[in-house]
Subunit: 218 residues, 2 copies
């Protein structure tokens, strides 16, 4: 836990200078700020994501960060968008690419989530669990953005649980809506405990829970 750092594993200097497409310097700065901001948010909360704090964390002038985002709230909203994109890239898209809709995809999504937490892509674990706990009871644009993205995840799990059930891939007594809820809750709960206690055995417990729940139909 003491080794927690908001520094990404790769700095922009280590990254290849030219990617698939050339990005304007403003875009690169924006991406660099948002990467730091999402990591920082899982340690210090989205409340800690301010123009001054990100200027400090990235070594950029405060005026440059201000020009790119305009306000703390816009920076926070952009951070939530960037975290969603990263979650899609790391968890959702690989699962969608590799697995058949239904039980197999549900399993891939849950395992992808747990791998993502275990790898500590964000030092505070799942960005959206941290953000949901922080903003859950604070109405506003930031709350609504987080709730909308959290709902996308919840809907994805529910859709795949329904598909699995309709394909006959789950025991006939299964309630797919209940299954989707339980899987989502177990993932979120495991994330909180694994970060708080720095205890990876909790992730193994969650994997066992997921596999047991998604064992092939009787």
């Amino acid at each position: 836990m003491s080794s927690v750092s908001i520094q990404p594993e790769q700095t922009s200097e280590q990254r290849p200078a030219t990617g698939r497409r050339t990005r304007a310097p403003g875009d690169r700065s924006r991406a660099r700020i948002l990467e730091q901001a999402a990591r920082l948010a899982t340690i210090e909360g989205l409340e800690g994501v301010s123009i001054g704090r990100l200027a400090e964390a990235t070594g950029m002038p405060k005026s440059s960060v201000y020009v790119l985002f305009g306000s703390k709230e816009e920076l926070q909203l952009a951070t939530v968008d960037a975290a969603r994109e990263q979650f899609a890239t790391e968890v959702v898209i690989p699962a969608l690419s590799a697995a058949e809709p239904g039980r197999e995809l549900l399993l891939a999504l849950c395992e992808g989530y747990l791998d993502h937490v275990e790898r500590r892509v964000f030092p505070g674990g799942c960005f959206f669990v941290a953000a949901s706990a922080e903003l859950g009871a604070r109405p506003g644009r930031l709350h609504d953005r987080i709730a909308a993205y959290q709902n996308e995840w919840r809907t994805l799990l529910a859709t795949q649980a329904n598909a699995a059930y309709e394909h006959g891939a789950l025991p006939a007594r299964t309630d797919p809506g209940q299954l989707a809820f339980e899987l989502g809750a177990i993932l979120a709960g495991a994330n909180i405990l694994s970060v708080l206690h720095d205890d990876q055995t909790v992730i193994d417990r969650a994997r066992t829970a997921v596999r047991t729940r998604l064992a092939a139909a009787d």
Copy 2:
């Protein structure tokens, strides 16, 4: 502390003039501040629990709040202690008083937790889920206090799951450690979703999960 003059809601007639008895209003002020602090923490985070913010929230002079707690960190630690006491009073003690150790107690603890979240005793739901998500990746005394109390809860669930299993009250294939983990994770996950989406049906889903898991042995 005995000579401390504070500015509580009480009139001067109610306030003892001198001596050791001034500790009584000091205790009352302390309790009043901590009650507000715990509620505030589930909305704005423990980071929002500062001497200035609590003076504002309670209408007490900042100097009085300072005298009672001494520092922001001490105020935050006292808030965590007060939240634990409240959780014990509302959830743990009633369950321990009403239910037999083992399956019955495990069920009473889980249902007590969900009732507590549903009643919104704290506006942001479970204090310890919010605090765990906020402080999980921030080493320090506050993190350690929250982790210690969270561990008490985890241990209580595990102990009762073991007792239930040993009494033969759960199916023979049950892994009691796994069961305790899943129950705790489902409760925490349900709390986050119910607050974020202001959706009480999530609490019903969690009740179904708990009752199914704790159905009497085959």
